[in-house]
């Protein structure tokens, strides 16, 4: 009986520690995210990933272009296709100025989003959108560099038993590679186009 009780108490301690650890790590990630609106003056995102055509790319690959960066995953049925559809509209709205910009869709679900998946997915939206993926380590490093947040959320009814939470704002990065601003989810393509064009 005593052993059972001790074991139970042990379990309680372990569970509490796990909860505390999860809670605090979650908390620090959240703070990490809210930094987006603050200490970003000198943010220069770096990455080393693979584009949807299988080429190894880094932030240097896109120097000279205004980058519009969106993090997401292809199994996402709502936020991601809506935003990519809006980025496609944005590229059309920009007309000739579209050549000075490059939309990037970075997968935060590299387990499922391989190069072929990304190719099939991004090309369905707009020929100018480039899809990037990588190893889990590469993707994690990229997100960190952008101060972007993502997490794998177990969900019984979701395909493969999980879904992803992620930063849903679109980043604007200057041709020199410096963070300029984010556009929160739902910002209209017209608004983004006007904002981008006054900077060109």
């Amino acid at each position: 009986m005593k052993t059972v009780r001790l074991t139970l108490w042990g379990a309680v301690v372990v569970a509490s520690a796990a909860f505390l650890w999860l809670y605090t790590s979650q908390g620090s990630n959240q703070r990490f995210v809210s930094e987006l609106s603050q200490n970003t003056d000198t943010l220069r995102p770096e990455f080393s990933l693979t584009d949807h055509q299988g080429n190894a790319v880094t932030e240097q690959t896109y120097r000279g272009k205004w980058l519009l960066v969106f993090f997401g995953f292809t199994n996402c049925p709502d936020i991601c296709p809506t935003t990519l559809g809006e980025l496609a509209q944005l590229m059309d709205l920009l007309g000739p100025d579209a050549q000075k910009t490059q939309p990037l869709f970075i997968s935060i679900d590299p387990e499922r989003d391989r190069v072929e998946t990304m190719a099939e997915y991004v090309s369905a939206f707009h020929p100018s959108i480039v899809g990037l993926t990588g190893t889990e380590t590469e993707v994690t490093a990229t997100a960190k560099s952008f101060k972007a947040f993502f997490e794998k959320l177990p969900q019984e009814t979701a395909p493969d038993g999980y879904t992803m939470g992620h930063t849903s704002a679109v980043y604007l990065i200057s041709p020199e590679g410096v963070f300029v601003r984010t556009y929160s989810y739902g910002t209209s393509p017209e608004k983004i186009a006007a904002d981008v064009q006054q900077r060109l």
């Binding site: 049925p77 969900q155 939470g165 929160s184």
Partner: protein, 155 residues
């Protein structure tokens, strides 16, 4: 008995409204279900989403308790929550439609997640979907499919 009558009535109403391909508004009891649309899919391996607006003209709340459609093995209402620029998605459970009010399922909020697609959703085609309400019973709609990057029925 009244439920059976109700179901028959709503089915009849559905038939009345569903035949002209342009009718995008269906009445079921006190509810008016309008502007349904779904997002095209690439193949069947990834989930898609459907959207709709439900207006309750009655004086008591109703609840959307379930969805049936041949296009998906598990249609389920999901909700996106965005906090501090981070968006997460989770099952919404039953959705209350308050009296004299409307609930809009739209991108960035509530959507019907079409899990386990039985066939690809092709832009320009349609599929039937049944919404199941606690009071209004079953309401059938014909859902038009818009492009993968569509953000609303107005496009």
């Amino acid at each position: 008995m009244s439920r059976v009558l109700f179901n028959t009535l709503s089915s009849l109403l559905f038939l009345l409204f569903a035949f002209p391909a342009t009718a995008e508004s269906v009445r079921g009891g006190d509810l008016v279900v309008e502007a349904p649309w779904a997002r095209a899919s690439i193949g069947t391996s990834r989930p898609s989403a459907a959207y709709i607006t439900i207006r309750n003209e009655g004086s008591s709340a109703d609840v959307l308790t379930g969805i049936e459609t041949e296009i998906s093995s598990m249609p389920e209402v999901h909700e996106i929550k965005t906090n501090d620029n981070v968006s997460t998605m989770s099952p919404a459970g039953p959705v209350e439609i308050p009296a004299k009010d409307a609930v809009k399922l739209a991108p960035g909020g509530l959507h019907i997640m079409l899990i386990g697609l039985q066939r690809a959703l092709v832009e320009g085609e349609r599929f039937p979907m049944t919404l199941i309400f606690e009071k209004a019973g079953r309401v059938n709609v014909s859902v038009p499919i818009y492009s993968l990057g569509a953000s609303g029925p107005e496009e």
